[in-house]
Amino acid sequence: MSRRAPLRVAVIERSALVLIVAFFMAPLGWLITTAYKPARDIFSFPPTLAFAPTLNNFRGVFHYFDLPHLIQSSLIITVGSVLLSLLLGVPAGYALARSRTRRAVALAYFFLAVRTVPPVATLIPFYLMMRDVGLLGTWWAVILINTMLNSAFVVWMMFAYFRSLPKEMEEAALTDGCTLTGAFFRVSLPLVKPGIVASALLCVMFSWNDFIYSAFLTRAETKPISVALLAAYGTKDINWGTLGALAHFSTIPIVVIALLLNRYFVQGLTRGIS
């Protein structure tokens, strides 16, 4: 694109972008501010933009929800499945990338396909499987199925990243006297760190935001935040203010992580699928 675009076009472009950003951020802005509104202003008739800020909703959150427990559940599920997925996926991706058979590529595509299976298909058999094994209702059930999906994704991403590493580097390390695993740990792994971070980030996002598996595979004690949000709606006094406050805890962690690691996020979303 020509870099000497006329000033007028640039101004129009930038204003358009600002408007678009504002448009996309508006619902989230509503969500955040609702958490600070007293119930009277949320349900005001007609709805207004001005309100008297209050922290009542946050108090309500702690009153109605066992928030530390919910966060703990979400954390355990997310961290567990991400770690397992990385442990399984990174070596597998490496193996596929360095393999010399043509079936390797087909296998990589198969792993990608695993992730596209609609949850309905696997949910019910998995539910029964977990029931028979006795893990139904525990965190492990959700961790396992999340790992199953995420590790497939990690394999795919790491396959793409490892494939773009020139083999010469590892061969150089080998001639210098490294073992194969040594070369892996000291040469290849550090070079694909962006890929690992990107995969981890996306896995965190998928696991933390997961709803359908967590909803049906957990009990009341093991529910993560994503499920509690919906389960609570409509019971007793839960109003939008409380939900807004709860949503704070559910969405802000991921948003912050995604913004901080934005470079990896962008890279991961585009690289791993090209």
Partner: protein
């Protein structure tokens, strides 16, 4: 790992061939393909199929057009543009359930910021956008678009950025107008990225669940009863596991066919793009 992935799938296929109800396990009988036939003949099932297809096509088309426009706007290397992109990606990271709830509140005709005024001034049916069978699906398409247009824009932008600039500059030097440059040079070379974006979005839109579950739960009157919701209802609320598995397997087949077709198109577009160079 293959075992954990493969076994539920195989069991799912097996279930679909039975008339298995969790409520009455002793009635488990082999009924062959009856469950699949029911998918065609049963009204609710057919409705679900139609709803899902309509949603997928509408959502992906809309997101593609808007995403392309957004990508073109962002196609410049500056800090401002990078920040815009970073901020615009936030909707992608929000839990879909939260997205559903937020829009449910915003569109509520009684007190929602949007819904109240829309209902008052006659823009929306009296029960709100989500409460009326005629507008519910379109509204869901809009909600899904809000969340995923930035994602489409990101993929298309990556494609745009990977275009070789020398070809573009040569075209400009040859006197091609902006519109000609876009149609004859950019678009053909962008096709692989276009198809990739379409594939991913289509597969995800086909399996939409969280947003629908959080807003309309399949209603009103089955207007938003997408296949995932229908299948989950059959499987876990009515415990009609055989039927639910049939639904699930049909979805898998559809998605598989779609992705195979798309991959084929991507490869062809890739080759064509390389020829242009």
């Amino acid at each position: 790992m293959l075992a954990i992935a493969g076994w539920p799938l195989a069991q799912g296929v097996a279930f679909s061939l039975y008339d298995y109800s969790l409520l009455r396990p002793e009635r488990k009988a082999f009924v062959g393909f009856q469950n699949y036939v029911a998918l065609w003949t049963d009204d609710a099932a057919r409705n679900s199929l139609v709803v899902t297809f309509v949603f997928t096509v509408a959502a992906v088309a809309l997101q593609f057009v808007l995403g392309l426009g957004l990508a073109l706007l962002l196609w410049r290397d500056s800090l401002f543009h990078r920040i815009c992109l970073a901020v615009l990606l936030i909707p992608v990271t929000v839990t879909p359930v939260v997205v559903g709830l937020v829009f449910r509140a915003l569109l509520a005709p009684d007190f929602g910021m949007i819904g109240y005024f829309a209902a008052r001034w006659g823009f929306s049916p009296p029960r709100g956008y989500l409460g009326d069978p005629n507008t519910a699906l379109a509204t869901l398409v809009a909600i899904d678009t809000w969340q995923w247009v930035p994602f489409m824009a990101l993929i298309l932008l990556a494609g745009l950025k990977s275009l070789p600039t020398d070809v573009l500059e040569a075209a400009e030097a040859d006197g091609a107008t902006a519109s000609q440059r876009f149609r004859l040079v950019v678009l053909p070379m962008l096709l692989p990225a276009v198809f990739l974006a379409l594939v991913i979005r289509t597969m995800d839109a086909f399996r939409v669940f969280d947003i629908v579950f959080a807003t309309t739960h399949g209603g009103p009157a089955g207007a938003t009863d997408v296949l995932m919701i229908y299948g989950v209802k059959q499987g876990l609320e009515f415990f009609n596991i055989g039927f639910a598995s049939a639904i699930a397997n049909t979805m898998i087949v559809c998605i598989a066919l779609l992705s195979v077709a798309f991959v084929f198109l991507i490869r062809r577009a890739d080759r064509r793009a390389n020829e242009l160079l």
